[in-house]
């Protein structure tokens, strides 16, 4: 959401995102803008999703939004005025004035971005700016960013805010985010939660976490790769099975739908996704904050390099796979949104995942890149014909079957429980 807003603030779509401008917008305006963005409907009002039975539904959006979008009602009276940084612009706000709603990413986006350790690193940056002078004095933009980050993400949100998922009952946003990832994907972040004892995000979730999600997702990637390399196979056996790929998509779709019933996890997803988009935006470009932190990487730099340099300033070592994780976040999000909406549940539709079929097969190209990056980020070999998902019998020297006998079951590794806290920079902390 915030990365899109930074692009909308740029003079033209060809210009780089105006992160500096966004960081100088008052946090109260940004908070109101999120309210407006939610009320617009996101994917619930996006063509192709408006009739989807799963995901963010119009009913869910309607139930949680402020009422009164017309004729001076409550929502109409609390406009953000986001348009030009530093002033209150007449409504409609950027991103909410056009006909289509501004979609926000799938929860997987938040999971993958947070897996880079970006929250821990930037929390330490903000903490240092607000409690002392261990970092050099910075520009106005940087102090605006520090204020916005602290007010929007490291304190309780305004009362009744759409992203207000912190309360006396679930006071820690770090735990709350991990809880959502665990319930939806059955996955933990790869680094331990600093300052949190045990794994409270798994407490009282019941037996309803999608523990099989990761395994089925990996099996889907493996099957798509098999189909991809056999797409132009004109002779010999072809292990491609579009029906099985569609079945895997349907399985994932049903898993996510179960966790989404009656709007469960909807506000949580929105809040976590906008949080990560704020942090992701910081390392997306060489903006004023990055320059103040001496983390510029030039025009060809990437978010992971900037994050690594920022982390170095505060004595933290980010995961080595941040480069892949940032790129994966943007790619996997729309794919999972389509899978969740059941757009690949039919075998002919599932062919889009691996077949060329047109001059610009964007779904296939996206899946191909996801497979490359996922393999690199996780170390799981998806392209090895003898590869077996966890829980299956180990690969044998005999020619492997293209499919497992049954769908993969649970067996994921969990995050380490060891508690680590960041230091004041005297010793590196490895995430």
């Amino acid at each position: 959401m915030f990365r899109t807003l930074a692009r909308l603030l740029a003079p033209s779509p060809l210009d780089p995102p105006n992160a500096d401008g966004l960081f100088t917008i008052h946090p109260l305006q940004l908070s109101r803008w999120l309210e407006e963005g939610w009320a617009q409907g996101g994917a619930a009002d996006w063509p192709g999703f408006d009739t989807s039975p799963t995901g963010i539904t119009p009913d869910t959006v309607s139930r949680f939004q402020l009422p009164g979008e017309l004729n001076g009602g409550l929502l109409a009276a609390l406009r953000s005025g986001v348009g030009v940084p530093g002033v209150f612009s007449d409504p409609p706000a950027l991103g909410t004035g056009t006909a289509l709603a501004l979609p926000w990413d799938h929860l997987i986006y938040a999971y993958l971005v947070e897996s880079t350790g970006i929250v821990e690193i930037l929390r330490e940056v903000v903490r240092r700016y607000v409690v002392g002078e261990t970092l050099e004095a910075a520009s106005d933009v940087t102090y605006s960013w520090v204020r916005g980050t602290e007010e929007l993400f490291f304190r309780d949100p305004p009362l009744f805010a759409i992203n207000g998922t912190v309360s006396a009952l679930r006071p820690d946003q770090v735990v709350n985010r991990r809880n959502a990832y665990w319930r939806m994907f059955g996955m933990d972040l790869p680094h331990p939660a600093a300052g949190v004892e045990g794994q409270p995000w798994k407490t009282d979730v019941g037996a309803a976490s999608n523990l099989r999600f990761g395994e089925v997702w990996v099996e889907l990637l493996r099957q798509v790769w098999l189909a991809f390399i056999n797409d132009t196979n004109a002779v010999g056996t072809n292990p491609t099975d579009a029906g099985y790929i569609a079945y895997l998509c349907q399985t994932l779709s049903e898993m996510m739908a179960m966790r989404r019933r009656v709007g469960m996890l909807a506000r949580e997803e929105f809040g976590h996704v906008v949080t990560m988009s704020w942090f992701h935006l910081l390392v997306d470009t060489d903006n004023a904050v990055v320059r103040d932190l001496q983390a510029s990487t030039g025009a060809t730099g990437n978010p992971a390099d900037r994050l690594a340099r920022i982390a170095q300033r505060v004595g933290i070592t980010p995961p080595r796979r941040a480069r892949e994780l940032f790129e994966l976040a943007d790619l996997v999000s729309p794919v999972l949104m389509f899978i969740e909406a059941g757009r690949f549940n039919d075998s002919s539709d599932a062919e889009l995942l691996f077949r060329a079929g047109s001059a610009d097969p964007i779904v296939r190209e996206t899946m191909n890149r996801i497979i490359d990056l996922w393999q690199s980020a996780t170390g799981q070999s998806l392209k090895d014909a003898a590869f077996r998902v966890a829980g299956s019998p180990s690969a044998s020297p005999a020619p492997p079957s293209a499919q497992p006998v049954r769908l993969p079951s649970a067996g994921l590794t969990t995050a380490p429980e060891a508690v680590k806290t960041t230091t004041n920079g005297s010793a590196p902390v490895r995430l």
């Binding site: 990365r3 899109t4 692009r7 909308l8 779509p13 409907g41 994917a43 619930a44 009002d45 996006w46 063509p47 192709g48 408006d50 119009p58 009913d59 309607s62 939004q65 979008e69 017309l70 004729n71 991103g95 004035g97 056009t98 006909a99 289509l100 709603a101 501004l102 979609p103 926000w104 990413d105 004109a234 943007d330 999000s333 729309p334 949104m337 389509f338 757009r343 690949f344 002919s348 539709d349 062919e351 889009l352 077949r355 060329a356 079929g357 047109s358 097969p361 964007i362 779904v363 996206t366």
Partner: protein, 153 residues
């Protein structure tokens, strides 16, 4: 061999290749169906929307004012708009009329009149083209009394 002959030869080889692979030259089984192309188009639109916002999306209706039996705009609806509907906040359809029928009495595409048009719980308007594609959206000001004259305001 000139360019024309070279092109014909390439075309013949391509047809032969298709025949060998699929047993037929037509239809080309490698091409996506219209439904597959629609999914691909939607995917591309979503991917772009997630990164760049919604500038390429449907247009916005110009200042719609909704009252019982009556709907006016500051600017006329485009010719591509064939049907228009009123929807609740939950995006449930309340009414839907053809633009032609609703402008038959006013002869003005900025002023629609039709007995099916009601205010109800309508907070959104959507206009569709002949193929049912969603091309415009509007957020109406709701008035319980229709304008006295047939003029668009």
């Amino acid at each position: 061999m000139n360019d024309s002959q070279s092109s014909e030869l390439a075309e013949a080889i391509e047809k032969l290749t298709k025949f060998l692979r699929h047993g037929s030259q037509f239809p080309d089984p490698d091409r996506f169906s219209s439904e597959q192309q629609k999914i691909q188009r939607d995917f591309r639109a979503l991917q772009r929307g997630l990164r760049f916002g919604n500038a390429d999306g449907p247009g916005l209706m110009a200042d719609p004012v909704l009252s019982p039996g009556d709907l006016t705009f500051r600017l006329p609806l485009p010719a591509a708009a064939v049907t228009i509907g009123g929807y609740t906040r939950q995006r449930k359809k309340v009414w839907k009329v053809t633009v032609a029928a609703a402008t038959s009495s006013t002869q003005n595409r900025a002023h629609l009149r039709h007995p099916d048009i009601v205010t109800g719980d309508v907070v959104r308007l959507r206009a569709f083209d002949a193929e049912g594609r969603w091309i415009l959206i509007g957020y109406p000001v709701v008035r319980e009394t229709p304008p006295v004259t047939g003029k668009a305001h």
